[in-house]
């Protein structure tokens, strides 16, 4: 029953987001046609005559009343059709799919890394509370956590990309044509991933670290830790087996919430590294008033966030035996 209310909640949110995405951009000034004929104020002056304009509007279904457009959109959505991007001139689903794989790769790797690292470092830090490693880690991670992702990205590009020339500074793959093996391709993708992922990991690790450290400090004061010590268990074992699992419990949902932040960070990082992900796309979609794309991108991002929450719920359920059977 708990699940049902949860799912109902998710559905409401998705519906709210869908309608929000649909109406807000359409109430914004400007329309997709401005950019259909080049960038106004930048490119060739191409003047649309009224007939062509009307034809274009009809072609994109923008001449119908708003509510009917909404109904059409909803019906298409039910069939899994996200529409046709006006600016990029391609199906929204294929554009998103092409971009999403990179964003997921970037978000996925860095999320796994920063959550794992943050948890381990937070646990170690709390375990040594007041000690040198605790103070050191705390200062270090609070400091690096204060870097705005775009700024850090720029610094990394200058240092490791341009000055040391260790890593490629843009894109997700090398612009070379043929890979001799899949391993080589994977390596290349990894090579491109390192700087943006590092940026994301560094800027997000502090949050998880602090959460974990605080949670862990609470756990360390618990009686069952004392019980474990009284059993004669080794410190590392207690930390791993008794403390970490309990400390993770209260912070799983908070970590899931951070995925939202993560997406914000990703937009910036993708911009700085010209990484071909959804973040950049979304930004362009707003600028170009590409309604279908905007709707699709927002929907996907919301779904990702809801999925993250769902995963967090699942993890929580797995971690907390008290919820498992009821």
């Amino acid at each position: 029953m708990h699940q049902i209310t949860k799912i109902a909640g998710y559905v409401t949110i998705i519906l709210a987001v869908i309608s929000f995405n649909f109406f807000l951009p359409r109430f914004m000034p400007g329309d997709p046609l401005s950019f259909l004929t080049g960038a106004p104020g930048m490119d060739m002056p191409i003047v649309l005559d009224e007939a062509t304009r009307a034809k274009l509007l009809a072609y994109y279904g923008l001449d119908k009343p708003l509510l009917q457009q909404f109904a059409d959109y909803m019906i298409k959505l039910m069939h899994g059709d996200l529409g046709w991007s006006t600016y990029y001139n391609a199906p929204v689903s294929s554009i998103l799919a092409g971009r999403l794989k990179w964003t997921l790769l970037l978000i996925g790797t860095s999320t796994l890394l920063y959550i794992a690292l943050g948890i381990v470092l937070g646990a170690i830090s709390a375990w040594n509370r007041g000690g040198k490693s605790d103070v050191g880690l705390l200062l270090l991670l609070l400091s690096v956590g204060s870097f705005p992702p775009f700024f850090l990205g720029m610094l990394l590009i200058i240092l490791f990309g341009v000055k040391l020339n260790l890593f490629p500074v843009f894109g997700a793959q090398s612009p070379f044509m043929a890979y001799s093996s899949p391993v080589e391709e994977a390596m290349d993708i990894l090579h491109h991933l390192i700087l943006p992922a590092t940026t994301l990991v560094i800027t997000h690790i502090g949050g998880v670290y602090l959460l974990m450290r605080n949670s862990m400090l609470n756990v360390i004061g618990e009686d069952y830790i004392l019980t474990a010590r009284a059993k004669g268990l080794a410190e590392w074992y207690i930390l791993r087996k008794h403390a970490m699992k309990n400390a993770l419990l209260p912070i799983t949902t908070m970590i899931a919430l951070r995925v939202g932040f993560m997406i914000s960070g990703t937009i910036l990082v993708e911009t700085v590294f010209a990484y071909p992900g959804v973040g950049m796309l979304l930004f362009d979609a707003v600028m170009y008033r590409d309604y279908p794309l905007l709707q699709g991108a927002f929907l996907i991002i919301t779904l990702v966030i809801i999925a993250a929450n769902f995963v967090a719920d699942m993890v929580y359920l797995r971690l907390d035996p008290r919820l498992r059977h009821d």
Partner: protein, 311 residues
């Protein structure tokens, strides 16, 4: 034969408000198969005493004196050596089983891990042993309950599980810290009965503020006030013929003995009154009590008291 001997044990730790002198020059002996009750009110240092023996206090705590267990001074052992003592030689049953059991691990695991760690056996063997132990503390259908997490256990069952953890490696000495706290009357009785049963061939330091429980289970009882022992005697002697005014007051404030309270309140462990620490609350106090700190004296056979009345 003496199993554990505390010699001039002092434990203190710093806090924001000052140095807490929780245990002050305590001398105590527990013989083989002896159950020693340590009674006292909240904040008198009795739990700290237990934890001092196990060396489970914060690293900033200073423990002085000697804790001689089977001839070796526990305070001189390394952390690794001490780990071999904990659980295997001396087990501790902490107060409040609701929080002392790890909520996310099965009870079986929590027992088995101690066994598996201290004895050379496979995890499966340890697990079977754990079920054995659960059975010995009278948990119904232990095979099933071993796979459950603590939230499926009632208060009394949790206490039993705690005892099972303590018994897991068959230690020689058990330190039980207020095992009956917060239990209902009937459950309390059962637990005390169980503890009596399982410690038949063991020694136990039974820390409690519950005078009834102490009377029922202990061979010897020591009374602690403001970080030091004020009286120590065989259970019958202590309850039948208390010597120290504090012990008398304590017994009189029981509902069944008429609810006659001791006036005032316990001092903090940071600064005590001068002289006898009990004198501000004592009906028998005289001039000397305020000035001089009394020593423990032997009044009768195995009956010691710290009071000027018996000097």
């Amino acid at each position: 034969m003496t199993l554990l001997k505390l010699k001039r044990l002092r434990t203190c730790f710093p806090t924001r408000d000052g140095l807490v002198k929780a245990v002050n020059t305590v001398d105590l002996e527990i013989g083989a198969n002896e159950i020693l009750g340590l009674i006292g009110e909240t904040g008198c240092g009795k739990s700290i005493l237990g934890m001092s023996i196990m060396r489970l206090l914060q690293p900033s705590t200073r423990i002085e004196g000697e804790i001689i267990y089977k001839g070796q001074d526990l305070l001189k052992l390394s952390e690794a050596e001490m780990r071999k003592i904990r659980g295997k030689e001396i087990a501790m049953i902490l107060q409040n089983p609701a929080t002392a059991l790890n909520p996310v691990l099965t009870v079986g695991d929590q027992i088995a891990e101690a066994i598996w760690l201290h004895q050379t056996m496979t995890k499966r063997e340890a697990r079977e042993k754990a079920i054995e132990v659960l059975r010995s503390v009278k948990i119904p259908s232990p095979e099933k309950m071993a796979n459950e997490c603590p939230h499926k256990f009632s208060g009394g069952m949790k206490e039993r599980a705690m005892i099972a953890i303590g018994l897991a490696c068959n230690p020689a000495l058990i330190i039980a810290d207020e095992p009956t706290r917060g239990l209902d009357a009937s459950t309390k009785e059962q637990i005390i009965k169980l503890m009596k049963e399982v410690t038949e061939e063991k020694s136990m330091l039974f820390i409690t503020h519950d005078l009834d429980a102490a009377a029922e289970i202990c061979d010897t009882v020591a009374v602690m006030y403001a970080g030091e022992l004020v009286e120590c005697a065989k259970t019958g002697d202590l309850f039948g013929k208390p010597l120290h005014p504090y012990t008398m007051g304590l017994l009189d404030s029981l509902p069944c003995r008429g609810l006659k309270p001791i006036r005032g309140m316990s001092p903090s462990l940071i600064d005590y009154p001068s002289g006898c620490r009990f004198h501000p609350r004592c009906d028998y106090a005289s001039a000397i009590c305020e000035k001089k700190h009394p020593e423990m004296v032997k009044v009768e056979d195995r009956h010691y008291v710290r009071c000027f009345m018996y000097l």
